[in-house]
Symmetry: C2
Subunit: 220 residues, 2 copies
């Protein structure tokens, strides 16, 4: 049965996974240190990677396996707020966005679909997490759906009981402020078996596997 | 550049990776407990696996990624010794051997090729590790070659300086006797960066990444 998965979500020791104000200069809103800690991701599998196959690489390599669509918040696509303007923005990723699948960008404002040659297409959708997930599942063709972030988007799906698997990377830094993955949650871990693994790099990986059946809103 | 890799090699605390006498009843030669410890392998990737995605599964899932051929000792193919007889033996794995690539079985005695419908074919070859590796690399079509075991075969390739990556799973049991992975080696670790990771299951995973250039005999 297809799953809804979160991968490679970097969070600080104080629970922040992004800064508060994304700009064109600061895609993570000032929390770029979360990503500077470790640059050895291998999101499309380790087998093409010439660098050492570390634990960090082995775990980040799960990101793309068996995923047929992604859902992201609009702040992950771009720093604009309010109505979209015709500014030619096509995301942060140049001509080769790493997704290679349909991507559903949650936004209250309409925007034409943005397509790339490598299989990536951005579709802008409004709706509750359940509805957006259903559209993404239809597009995923039987494969899994990844919730790509940012943290408030992941939290929305967590709170709706829609996440089956989550891989967090706890980075040994404090940020003091930002967008918290955990804000307002209480017992987020209750529906999961959580495994924590220390890495030589200083990261702590966590694998969250759902143990409870989906809530009714999450049934497919 | 293609690598030569070892994956999911279970060894006991006292260094044994197989029993001494493989029989039709005991494919691991009496050391079956090494494999009973953990049955949650996911050798062809985790994405088809409905069970929880644990660390153990994530690491065992590297087994099949990017591999185009395997090399194994004859004891992994079957318990027979000496000249092969026409006994109809086609390996331990039924009609669907998990390899799905050419497999080179090291044997001093000739044996016709054994083929299966799922891409697995067993080729029986005699020669030094360097020569067998070269044949396997040609068959792998640019992908990596896996050294599939047993332990004395892995040790042969290790001693020849031909192994680029090795994933060991140290099982928290003692066996007292058997075929040791380490017998006769001294400083096997010297050419590698070794990362050790404890798992909730009790296994210790080790990732060995070669840091020294290949020995001349291993140059391709």
């Amino acid at each position: 049965m297809p799953r809804t998965r979160v991968h490679n979500l970097n969070i600080s020791l104080d629970g922040y996974a992004a800064g508060e104000h994304v700009t064109f200069e600061e895609p993570i809103g000032g929390a770029e240190r979360l990503f500077e800690w470790f640059d050895g991701r291998a999101i499309h599998g380790v087998d093409g990677v010439d660098d050492p196959w570390t634990l960090d690489r082995a775990l980040t390599s799960l990101w793309g396996q068996g995923v047929g669509a992604e859902i992201m918040g609009r702040g992950k696509f771009g720093p604009q707020v309010g109505e979209w303007t015709d500014d030619g923005w096509r995301g942060w990723w140049g001509d080769e966005p790493p997704f290679r699948t349909p991507v559903f960008v949650m936004s209250h404002f309409p925007h034409p679909t943005v397509e790339f040659g490598n299989g990536t297409s951005f579709h802008f959708v409004d709706g509750a997490p359940e509805d957006v997930l259903q559209r993404a599942q239809e597009a995923a063709g039987g494969l899994d759906v990844r919730i790509g972030g940012g943290p408030s988007t992941v939290r929305q799906f967590l709170e709706a009981g829609l996440v089956d698997f989550m891989h967090l990377m706890i980075v040994p830094i404090t940020l003091g402020r930002g967008v918290s993955l955990w804000e307002g949650t209480d017992g987020a871990e209750a529906a999961f078996a959580v495994e924590s693994i220390g890495s030589r790099s200083g990261l702590t990986h966590q694998l969250w596997n759902r143990i409870e059946p989906r809530s009714p809103s999450g049934q497919r």
